[in-house]
């Protein structure tokens, strides 16, 4: 079974995030890393391919400047190869523009299953995978907390407002996974070395036959007009517990007439 996992390479979320004052796009300087949320999808893809007794995991990603450092992390985990779309005209792409690009790239790999995270850590719009499914003409099951494959179908435990649903879906399909669906493996030293020579097919919009007006800032047809500091919620009283910390909480609740 061949699995495509869509992965995003993002600025380190632990570093301070900022918007460009002119374009209001997220600043993407410095090294990009594999979005933590995607490690679960990569692991899920690897396990499903192994359980199916054959096939491989292909990564599909879109990033500026031919960035591959995040891809190498996922290749080191065990993915076989990657398709990276990189083109200056993609700057400022929204979720729909990204889905249009990834759909063309995913099509090339002709997968049985496409996996993505429910949302990225940096942009968290959470709509791209479903847009991708619609563009590919595929069914989708979002918010999977458990995934298995058998007899041409994928079985998913899908989170709901009140619990979860058991969902069955014919392949090929798009499935989005939550953190915790599986425990991602750490890349081994051998894996890290092997990843260096794994193929990364780098493509431009022209290679994919995409009109640049459909993607990037022009295709987004939306703009951020301003950014302001929110009404600051300032820190209040901080007390170091010396055995009496609970008393401060009780007094606080008394003031609110909750006890």
């Amino acid at each position: 079974m061949n699995v495509v996992v869509c992965v995003k390479q993002i600025p380190d979320p632990a570093a301070k995030q900022a918007l460009d004052p002119q374009t209001h796009n997220l600043v993407r300087e410095g090294k990009l890393i594999l979005d933590d949320s995607d490690a679960y999808g990569v692991e899920m893809g690897l396990q499903l391919a192994e359980q199916a007794g054959g096939g491989e995991v292909t990564l599909v990603s879109m990033a500026p400047g031919g960035e591959t450092s995040g891809l190498r992390t996922a290749l080191a985990m065990g993915a076989a190869k990657a398709i990276l779309v990189s083109d200056d005209a993609l700057a400022g792409s929204d979720a729909l523009g990204t889905a249009k690009v990834l759909a063309k790239a995913v099509d090339r790999a002709a997968p049985d299953l496409v996996i993505a995270a429910t949302e990225s850590t940096d942009g968290y719009t959470g709509t791209m995978p479903v847009q991708l499914a619609e563009l590919l003409g595929l069914p989708s099951v979002t918010f999977a907390k458990k995934v298995s494959v058998g007899e041409g179908k994928v079985h998913v435990q899908r989170q709901t407002e009140s619990g979860y649903d058991d969902v069955e879906c014919p392949l090929p399909a798009v499935v989005t996974v939550t953190a915790g669906v599986v425990e991602p493996r750490y890349p081994s030293f051998k894996g890290i070395m092997a990843a260096k020579s794994k193929p990364v097919d780098q493509l431009t919009l022209a290679d994919l036959g995409i009109d640049p007006a459909q993607v990037g800032a022009a295709g987004a047809r939306q703009e951020v007009t301003g950014v302001e500091a929110a009404d600051a919620r300032s820190a209040g009283e901080v007390v170091v517990d010396e055995g009496d910390g609970f008393e401060h909480v009780v007094r606080f609740l008394e003031q609110l007439k909750l006890v």
């Binding site: 847009q131 069914p139 099951v141 979002t142 009140s162 969902v167 609970f246 609740l253």
Partner: protein, 322 residues
């Protein structure tokens, strides 16, 4: 062209429209003429309540059976828009099915979607949306520059639901055209995780636990404290992902948004993902042993200490008061 027709994607259960549906209707009717786009077995029966909250029309896609609603509802909505009876603006609840519907509709109409909206302002012929960034420390304003309809996915509790006493919404059938392979998923069984006490997103007091609890067995004290305060027990994503508590307890970006009178965070560091879901609480108390934890920057009262020492003493003190 001014804003006239505003659709709300309406989610309904046996008990009627969901709270977020009514919140969106309150905004929709203030923006223009509100109409609901409903689906599922309980939609038609909700026409009365939807009307009371300002919906003039209910476009009813009908029962989707065991299908997931995304593909079907998007196809039905696209057919209405292509037939000329589409709206200027579509408000979609930021729920599991809502995001599926918005994503698929966006492709069918080839229009973008703006998500994570927490406020909307009509500005002449334009609509400005507001978004919390970086855990809510900054607010971005955005708008569409392309053709309508403009699709906004709106977070829970962005607006207040309020009935205005309108007549029942006029029900108009809105059957979906053939959806082909996109509608392949089927629900085989539905599992409801029971919980006692008030609902997490409606409780006056929410007590949440995080990784700092150290293990699933310590979550019991969170539930006990919540019970003593007649509140609801919540959780950070970390311990839900770790399987300590069911997902229905999760507060944050991908979980519930809560705005209680007081939110008590126990052993929660305060990742952006969590802050987004609870920063609107009227009062915040944080108990965490790491004095540099980001949760303290939003807490009205911070206790730097071990949850295993502070919380049991707090429970004891509350019990002693009876």
């Amino acid at each position: 062209m001014s804003i006239d027709k505003v659709w709300v994607v309406a989610e309904t259960t046996e008990a009627g429209p969901t709270t977020i549906t009514l919140e969106l209707l309150a905004k929709a009717r203030a923006m223009g003429t509100a109409e609901a786009l409903g689906f599922g077995p309980h939609a038609a029966a909700a026409a009365g309540v939807l009307g009371e909250h300002g919906a003039t029309v209910l476009h009813d896609v009908g029962d989707v059976g065991e299908a997931l609603p995304g593909a079907v509802v998007a196809a039905a909505a696209a057919a209405l828009v292509e037939g000329g009876s589409g709206p200027d603006v579509i408000l979609v609840p930021a729920t599991y099915d809502g995001r599926d519907i918005a994503g698929r509709l966006s492709v069918r109409l080839d229009v973008p979607v703006i998500t994570n909206v927490v406020d909307l302002v009509v500005d002449g012929d334009d609509v400005r949306s507001q978004h919390g960034l970086f855990g809510g420390s900054e607010v971005a304003t955005a708008h569409f520059t392309g053709p309508r309809p403009w699709i906004f996915v709106v977070r829970a509790k962005s607006f207040s639901a309020e009935p205005v006493g309108g007549a029942p919404a006029r029900v108009q059938a809105a059957p979906a055209p053939e959806t082909g392979a996109t509608n392949g998923a089927r629900v085989l069984a539905r599992h409801v995780e029971e919980r006692s006490g008030p609902k997490l997103d409606e409780a006056d007091v929410v007590v949440s636990g995080g990784r700092g609890l150290g293990g699933a067995e310590h979550y019991a004290m969170i539930e006990e404290l919540a019970g003593l305060l007649h509140g609801a027990a919540g959780a950070s994503r970390a311990i839900v992902d770790a399987g300590w508590v069911p997902y229905s307890h999760q507060v944050g970006q991908t979980g519930k948004t809560v705005k209680p009178t007081v939110y008590i965070a126990c052993g929660i560091s305060g990742a952006t993902q969590h802050l987004v879901g609870m920063k609107g609480s009227k009062n915040i108390v944080a108990i965490n042993k790491d004095q540099d934890a980001p949760i303290f920057s939003v807490a009205d009262l911070g206790i730097v200490g071990d949850v295993h020492k502070v919380v049991p003493k707090l429970i004891e003190a509350l019990k002693a008061r009876g």
